[in-house]
């Protein structure tokens, strides 16, 4: 096969895949971000995407597949515009995550890891996403939606399906899953300045210290 002619992969994507590989001292290190880009361009991990990665990295398609199947963020079926991940690890589950997930399954008539027929919402239960002080947590396209309830989560998916503008509680207006995957591939979307530096829970200790005049000791300078 002539290089760069993987059927079903457009030349721009192929070039960008090569750019990712070129960032690293050893090009195979680019594979994870490359697979993120495949998802962005193709909406899922596809056989063509696997072929393109294999060709660029000079490894076999089986080796690429072996990596793609190891990681839960790589999807081998189409994902909706909005991937809704409900944390059901212990702490979030106890604080309401189980109730939120049950409610959303019922409301959307979906099982775990399924997508609505209109292609808008994919629902999945996720593991701890490092926001336990904002429990229960829901992630939409890997943006934080903090302190959720079954009611707020239902309203959230309704708004997303209706095409309303929805903002992360600590970030920008929610982009689509494919746009998010592009950022994970290392192509910044210029949205870093959106949202606050920190949410309220991140700041509780600092504000107590400020109120009480507590600081670390004076240093050398």
């Amino acid at each position: 096969m002539k290089e760069g002619n993987v059927k079903g992969i457009d030349p721009t994507t192929y070039d960008e895949l090569k750019q990712i590989a070129a960032r690293y001292p050893h090009k195979r290190s680019g594979l994870l971000p490359m697979l993120h880009l495949v998802q962005s361009a193709q909406g899922q991990i596809t056989p063509e995407g696997i072929e393109a990665c294999a060709e660029i990295l000079e490894i076999t398609a089986a080796e690429v597949s072996g990596v793609a199947t190891f990681y839960t963020m790589y999807k081998r079926k189409p994902v909706g515009d909005y991937h809704v991940g409900v944390c059901t690890n212990t702490l979030c589950a106890v604080m309401g995550g189980d109730a939120i997930f049950a409610k959303l399954k019922d409301h959307l008539d979906l099982g775990n890891d399924e997508t609505t027929e209109d292609g808008k919402i994919s629902l999945e239960h996720v593991e701890c996403n490092a926001a336990c002080d904002y429990a229960p947590v829901v992630m939409v396209n890997w943006e934080f939606m903090d302190n959720q309830t079954p009611e707020s989560a239902t309203a959230l998916v309704d708004d997303l399906r209706a095409g309303k503008e929805v903002h992360s509680t600590r970030g920008p207006k929610l982009c689509t899953w494919r746009e998010a995957e592009r950022v994970l591939a290392g192509f910044n979307d210029g949205q870093a300045d959106q949202g606050p530096a920190a949410g309220p829970a991140s700041l509780v200790g600092l504000s107590i210290a400020n109120d009480k005049g507590w600081t670390a000791p004076e240093g050398d300078n």
Binding site: V94, D133, V183
Partner: protein, 442 residues
């Protein structure tokens, strides 16, 4: 010991704290200037003298880890060396590195540059879990700003030192927080741990000498350079120096991040967090994530440092204090964590792959009130066959909630058998139902 000491969290409320401008305005990158005027070996000595121990859970002395890199061989071209930051924060309950990188990514970037200079690495990587989109945006932007300001790239501030820094997003695998699995993942492979020795210091990324440190460890380095090793060591306890971010979550009035000297107690932290949620009592807690054995209300006065928590049979871990009150069923909590370990087991070694599967089977039955008392002995027996016999610490961690919960709450397991199911109402432990009940009551 009883006050908070914001250092890493100090600028989190600043306007646009994530930008280079805001970070520089509060003194940021001053430590880099100091470091570049020192010999690399002296930077390592300063970090050694501070007593900083790894903040990712294991508590290994950071400066000593750096000192393990083998010296260049005479007459041979020096081997490439690498710094890899473990930003894969995924241990259940752990939520300190993500807000740090979101609020002040430059603290980490400055730490990376100083640390890389100390170990003479020309390439550094921040391996960040993929499931935190906005954090990744902020890291990417910070690295871009640092290049533009001359903090990264060729001949940094005329020092002759070159460094490239890559922000690398993972793809959803808890095991990649294990440092050798992280290296395999960063090499574009399945994230499975490696046999040690050789240790990463000798043969790490691309089989070259590599240092892997947690986000909070590397982020602490600029403050040590800026204020001095003695300043850092003046906080904390004899063998656990300095400050750390304590993450309180669960049934406390005000969950959040509390930065304090190591050695503070949970009693003090819960007091600062406004107590337990209204009308409830502490039942059990994890000191450092779900892989650290559970503790109970009898451990409220244990000093939260490496030695203090170790002395009561648990581990300080990542200071991920998950707090559960009396409405929480410990069997439900432990089953859920066990399902997590089973899901995240990489499959490489038999004790973890098969053992975690059997643990789930047995616990599920018990939780439904099926099975028998002897199942508890079977659980402990399986744990014995995983702990210390699995390839990496994931398997060990999977046994912690089980053995500790049977130690402290055996009766609650038995109550499931007597009751023919879970005697707890899950609604009582949830927040939305709790609020609803209060409204009805009011």
């Amino acid at each position: 010991m009883d006050t908070l000491t914001p250092v890493l969290t100090k600028n989190w409320a600043d306007d646009r704290a994530w930008t280079l401008e805001a970070y520089t305005n509060q003194g940021g990158y001053g430590a880099l200037k100091k470091a570049l005027a020192m010999q690399p070996g002296d930077v390592i000595e300063a970090v050694k003298a501070s007593g900083l121990r790894g903040r990712g859970g294991a508590g290994f002395p950071t400066g000593m880890k750096w000192g393990f890199l083998p010296p260049d061989e005479e007459g041979k071209a020096p081997k490439d060396r690498y710094l890899v930051v473990n930003a894969d924060e995924s241990e259940p309950g752990t939520c300190k590195d993500i807000p740090l990188m979101m609020a002040s990514p430059h603290t980490l970037v400055e730490g990376v540059i100083i640390s890389s200079y100390a170990i003479r690495a020309k390439h550094a990587f921040i391996y960040v879990r993929g499931e935190v989109l906005h954090v990744i945006r902020r890291l990417q932007a910070a690295v871009q700003e640092a290049y533009a300001a001359g903090h990264l790239g060729k001949d940094i501030h005329g020092s002759g030192y070159n460094l490239d820094l890559i922000v690398h997003a993972g793809a959803g695998a808890y095991i990649c927080g294990e440092e050798t699995a992280l290296l395999d993942s960063l090499e574009g492979r399945r994230g499975q741990p490696r046999l040690r020795p050789p240790f990463p210091a000798v043969a790490g990324l691309y089989a070259s000498p590599t240092v892997i440190n947690n986000v909070e460890s590397i982020s602490s380095v600029p403050s040590i350079l800026e204020h001095g090793a003695d300043w850092f060591a003046s906080m904390g306890t004899e063998k656990s120096k300095g400050f750390g971010i304590f993450s309180l979550s669960g049934h406390v009035a005000n969950p959040g991040q509390y930065e304090a000297p190591l050695g503070i107690t949970l009693r003090k932290l819960i007091e600062l967090a406004g107590g337990m949620r209204n009308g409830h009592e502490l039942k059990f807690w994890t000191p450092g994530g779900s892989s650290t054995p559970l503790l109970t209300s009898e451990h409220l006065d244990v000093p939260l440092d490496f030695e203090g928590v170790g002395a009561v049979g648990s581990m300080l871990g990542t200071r991920a204090l998950q707090i559960f009150d009396e409405t929480t069923c410990v069997v439900r909590a432990v089953l859920r964590w066990t399902e997590f370990y089973k899901h995240e087991s990489c499959g490489k070694c038999t004790p973890c792959r098969e053992g975690s599967w059997w643990l789930v089977q047995t616990l599920s039955k018990l939780e439904k009130g099926q099975g028998q008392e002897s199942d508890l002995e079977q659980l402990l027996d399986i744990c014995d066959n995983i702990l210390g016999r699995s390839f990496c610490a994931l398997g060990d961690g999977a046994t912690s909630p089980i053995s500790s919960s049977i130690k402290y709450f055996r009766d609650e397991y038995l109550a499931h058998l007597e009751h023919g199911g879970c005697p707890f109402d899950p609604a009582a432990s949830a927040l939305h139902t709790d609020a609803g009940q209060l409204e009805v009551g009011a």
